[in-house]
């Protein structure tokens, strides 16, 4: 399955090579890796809704596969406590050409940010706080409705 929720870290090279293993019709691999930002944050803890999370990510993946010509998609999201600098999320797309791979990866991240049931809690010197949803993420996801596939 190309959707995984896990506590442990992952390796971008391994994931990219898994997408293209045993085939030679892929010209473009795009990956997004999200990292935990530091600043006043000493630790980030990811909570999720087991069961619904997998369903939501698989639905997002299906939408991308319907919309673009892709040879593969990988979505990995870590849960549990994570230190600043740690990898937290990974999305990768494989396609013949780069435009589809880039667009689909952005689409996956935009929908993951707004539709997948994860919640971030930050630990700081002043205590803990739940991260607020960002309005810019709602705007990012809205543009995909206005903007049917432009390039392939």
């Amino acid at each position: 399955m190309s959707v995984r929720i896990q506590e442990k870290d992952f390796d971008p090279t391994t994931e990219l090579e898994a997408l293209s293993a045993g085939r030679d019709d892929i010209g473009a691999l795009v990956s997004f890796t999200g990292l935990v930002r530091g600043g006043d944050v000493s630790e980030m803890t990811l909570e999720h809704y087991p069961g619904m999370t997998e369903k939501a990510l698989e639905k997002i993946e299906r939408q991308a596969l319907e919309r673009w010509s892709l040879q593969g998609v990988t979505i990995i999201h870590r849960v549990g406590p994570l230190a600043p600098g740690a990898r937290i999320v990974f999305v990768a797309t494989a396609s013949r050409h780069r435009a589809a791979a880039f667009e689909a990866a952005e689409f996956l991240m935009d929908f993951l940010k707004t539709n997948a049931p994860f919640w971030k809690k930050e630990s700081t010197a002043d205590g803990e706080r739940w991260v607020d949803a960002r309005e810019t993420d709602d705007k990012a996801v809205a543009r995909w409705a206005l903007n049917p596939k432009a390039r392939d």
């Binding site: 809704y49 619904m52 369903k55 049931p117 919640w119």
Partner: protein, 83 residues
């Protein structure tokens, strides 16, 4: 039916999961929340701002006016912040 709470909603209510049997007449998500608020001040505080609450019925996103009849699992949570 099973109710699930996540993130700060879970913390304010004090549990992540509970079994409830709403009385007749409690037939939508909205009326379910109203019923919970009358049961205990913890719910009153947790659901004070329902604009900041999202709902999923049997693991599918739903609206506040969605019917809850036959639902096995209703989850209530703040807007998601993953990625």
């Amino acid at each position: 039916m099973k109710l699930l709470y996540f993130a700060w909603l879970r913390e304010r209510i004090g549990t992540g999961s509970e079994e409830v049997t709403p009385p007749e007449g409690v037939d939508t998500v909205e009326s379910l929340i109203d019923w919970l608020k009358q049961k205990d001040p913890r719910y009153e505080a947790a659901f004070a701002e329902t604009v900041a609450i999202r709902v999923a019925i049997d693991q599918e996103q739903a609206d506040f006016d969605a019917p809850i009849a036959g639902a096995r699992e209703i989850a209530l949570f703040p807007p998601v912040t993953g990625g």
